[in-house]
Symmetry: C2
């Protein structure tokens, strides 16, 4: 089974893919659109994408792609994000003057940099890519900050493990496929819907769920691509493909301009 991910080998997406599809072959893609293109073309069986981090928020590009493309969420997974200081073999922590990583990762390791003022944080475009950069460039005074799988992939050594400030750092990933298939135990639904910009529109839309005591676990308005300040809503609710859920979606369809079910899957 071939599974597309966005980003370098050794990324958190790769780790999530190994957990969601054990034994799969990873196909790294430079950009998220390429991940979705490959899935729609059928050159991969599935894709694994990060959708939301408990500290940094939603990966908005992926919500927009789920809405635009003919794909379906089949599984959800929560990965605990652990950041590690990784350098070339033989390099000691005392040798370090710089640490590269994605700005979000650097921000999540602020206490480490406060305790180690000789190491300067340098923004880089990718976590696993920062380790690749340090190892392949033979740098002796620099480290990358990434998940432990990046050390394995690029032959780095973990100098300090778990340097993130907040241990309650999780990322939600989706396994998506081209075919719509609801696996047993599915008890959560992700939807997108569009509303006219009139007072009370969202209130009416949410009545579809509130009147049936269906819990929303997330809601977010996103600008519609190319239509400034018009909004599409992304919501998750805690029901699978059952009668109340179908009735709620029917009710929502009467109120909304557009409704798309992005996936029905077992809650992580």
């Amino acid at each position: 089974m071939k599974v597309a991910i966005q980003g370098e080998a050794g990324s958190f997406s790769q780790e999530a893919a190994r957990r969601l599809a054990p034994g799969c072959t990873i196909v790294p893609c430079a950009r998220s659109v390429e991940v979705f293109d490959r899935l729609e073309r059928g050159s991969v069986t599935a894709a694994v994408i990060p959708i939301e981090n408990s500290l940094a928020g939603s990966v908005t590009e992926h919500f927009d792609l789920l809405l635009a493309r003919k794909v379906f969420i089949q599984r959800e997974f929560r990965l605990r994000i652990v950041h590690n200081l990784i350098a070339a073999p033989g390099v000691r922590k005392a040798d370090l003057r710089r640490a590269y990583s994605h700005p979000v990762a650097l921000e999540q390791c602020r206490d480490f940099f406060r305790r180690n003022p000789k190491i300067e944080p340098i923004p880089f475009y990718d976590t696993a890519g920062s380790v690749k950069h340090v190892i392949e460039g033979g740098l002796r005074d620099a480290a990358g900050i990434a998940g432990r799988q990046a050390a394995q992939v690029y032959g780095g050594r973990i100098l300090v493990a778990g340097i993130e400030d907040d241990k309650r750092n999780f990322t939600r990933f989706f396994l998506i496929r081209k075919v719509k298939r609801i696996v047993p135990g599915a008890n959560k639904t992700s939807i997108a819907f569009g509303l006219k910009n009139v007072p009370g529109a969202l209130f009416k839309a949410l009545s579809a769920f509130a009147l049936r005591a269906i819990s929303l676990s997330k809601i977010e308005s996103r600008p519609m691509r190319g239509r400034p300040w018009e909004y599409v809503f992304y919501a998750d609710f805690l029901r699978g493909d059952d009668r109340p859920a179908r009735q709620a979606l029917g009710h929502l369809g009467e109120v909304a301009e557009m409704v798309k079910v992005l996936g029905i899957y077992p809650a992580a």
Copy 2:
């Protein structure tokens, strides 16, 4: 008047700051927390921060900082985002093999790269920073992609102007201050509120606005920092500091666990 911004000189934030506070002195900060620290300490009079892009979505870190810190939104501004291909003087477009920029900017210039396959897009941590990198490094086969003010600041030449795919690309900026002051003409309010995770909680909260025919122009749930999958809501509604708005906020206060008014300001 000293105004703090996040990012390099020459960034879109700098352009927004010049429009929101003409004649101000810009204080560039490496990180957003530093911007808020300076404002709270009083070492700057105001700060200008991007809050939402019409294509890329919310700047979630800034919403979280508006909630956590004692600051108040005083003005809103919409900046049209124009991306330009910028290189060192004397470099021609035909010389280029690489173009550096922030991944979001590269993604917004996909058609340009399709039409110019000899130029490879390379992710960089900042738009203006990519121009600085290219000019200060004396690169002859590379360009940066950024706003025109980056060309002025670093002495670059614009080889192609306006290479973004979608001209409906705007970013909303806020001018924030430590003091709470509502300027004349204020007709829009930004709030944050927290809800218990029970079915219908958001429906009840929104009734405060729907029953008074007050229009929401934005709503977004965000994970609460350090409390995985608990949510705070950010909303904008189209009223200033008038009686119905105060009544709606009072009503919301009965339903919500927490309500904070982030600012009351004239809609851009």
